[in-house]
Subunit: 349 residues, 2 copies
Amino acid sequence: MSRVVKLAVIPGDGIGPEVVAEAVKVLDAVTASSDVSFEKTPFSLGAGRFLETGDTLTDDDLAAIAEHDAILLGAVGGVPGDPRLKDANIERGLLLKLRFELDHYVNLRPSKLYPGATGPLADPGEIDFVVVREGTEGPYVGNGGSIRRGTAHEVANETSVNTAYGVERVVRYAFALAGRRRQKLTLVHKTNVLVHAGGMYKRIVDAVASEFPEVAVDYLHVDAATIFLVTNPGRFDVIVTDNLFGDILTDLAGAVTGGIGLAASGNINPDGAFPSMFEPVHGSAPDIAGSQKADPTAAILSVALLLDHLGLTDESARVTRAVEDDIANRDGQRTTAQIGDAIAARVQA
Amino acid sequence: MSRVVKLAVIPGDGIGPEVVAEAVKVLDAVTASSDVSFEKTPFSLGAGRFLETGDTLTDDDLAAIAEHDAILLGAVGGVPGDPRLKDANIERGLLLKLRFELDHYVNLRPSKLYPGATGPLADPGEIDFVVVREGTEGPYVGNGGSIRRGTAHEVANETSVNTAYGVERVVRYAFALAGRRRQKLTLVHKTNVLVHAGGMYKRIVDAVASEFPEVAVDYLHVDAATIFLVTNPGRFDVIVTDNLFGDILTDLAGAVTGGIGLAASGNINPDGAFPSMFEPVHGSAPDIAGSQKADPTAAILSVALLLDHLGLTDESARVTRAVEDDIANRDGQRTTAQIGDAIAARVQA
Ligand SMILES: CC(C)[C@H](C(=O)O)[C@@H](O)C(=O)O
Ligand SMILES: CC(C)[C@H](C(=O)O)[C@@H](O)C(=O)O
């Protein structure tokens, strides 16, 4: 009884295609002998496609992608300052559009310092936490505008929109996750300044907490949270936070755990109404594109998250273990493909 | 010909009074033999005052404070979770109200790793940059609200308001500062998501840049900026950014340069229409209040910023040098007062 998973693959721009090639290599390796197979459909999307056709993400693209069981994405975005992209916002028009349209309300970003990985901290201790970043609300909704643009009297506003519906579902997910981990949940916000949005987050966390008596809850302002991420990252288990704070904290967390080249993420629709999307936290890094300098590990760990999401927990664990072994035994420079080969070989060993 | 400076002193809550006592001690020491004297007026404001009288900052308080030449503030804020403060927002009603009413549009936050200070980074290199944080706009304006509060249908919005007027003046200040330093300015924002506010910041920085051809300009998204703060903080000279990003970056910067116990700040009205206010970046830390455990260095360095702002550059330099010498020679535990005594003695030596 074999299972077929329909996977949409969006290599994207810059180093995206290189790291996705290795991620797919590892995916193929881990499923080679199993009774699940992945039917992959490539989608040509990103700055490259925009420059060719003027399209960012059409309704047809979106409908076609939504037909799949899951999505693997590399990275999107052109060369910064490219004048031909001046009026394109690939991030908003493609990446964020996918997250919003496919209702990826959980942006799951694990941070783990693997043995052998070196970060910038002198004494990092054990780091193993997950940021549950809200993915469909907050300052990311695109509800901004300006008047008198380009004049001395311009006013530019950005509105963060937050709903009890949206916050409760992501908070509930974070509590359940904390319950399966070390039973600690930290809400990060800025309740003393963003009193309405922050206040609602706080009230909802307090309310849901009563259903998870085994989970210890605390709260940190976002500024204080960045301090702890560098002075005592071991204090965190699960962090739940809004879309913007989650963006900031997870880049910092990636740096602290050995670099953004290792940080994986899942844009998850837990209800299963839409396909979830897995991508490295890093960007398209056009400056090193095509040079085989990119580390595909973040993309490969995103495959582990994807497998786990699909219930393929054994396969997921094998990929994670292979990555762990690879990181523990790194020395010398390797190309993107060499890292992928090494991890694929470990997966099959 | 002696000059009298009218100084409003707001010790505040928690460790505020302790660190302000040492800051005043050092101020007195450095001006003991000079022809400038400080006439100090204490203002009892903060959670303590609120609990006694129900007032946070009355119009009379504000008018009286505005009569002064400068303000020295310790820290404000009660014990987190104190039910009697449930409906008080001391931060918004007092600290932010002062910043907004006194038009403190430059929130100046230097970050320097002093020899002898130890931060969490294994290999920090030289760190010496200044964050110029906008102080009167952005997500801090308090333009938020909610509907159906407390129900499953609640919507809570927060609007970030930004004006060309407000951005241009702080950007201009940052360029001038960079011109007097290492001629490097980094704009930090999130232009790919907050396209209206971020786009305006970017356009204004680009426009003002032409008047400062000697200053090299670059741009970082806020998430990427946090990465560089821990992997290569030496790359920064002057950072200009909005109110919220500045809040986040300066706590992280404080941690990276040896802890928030050393981080000073100035809330500056460069036009001189209102008194500027100097305060440590840290909060009131009620958990250690009264125990003489707080480090008064941040408050003392805030006095150095205050002196510099008043044009008392020699006095300012003497305080900074005394602090540098103290940090370079620290060993063993000292009380708040012992640190203040040591720095005051160095100032007079
Ligand atoms: C590219 C950008 C829009 C995106 C975000 O801000 O979410 C990225 O930084 C991320 O964290 O995935
Ligand atoms: C207390 C709080 C309102 C304040 C801020 O967010 O500005 C503080 O964090 C700071 O940085 O001075």
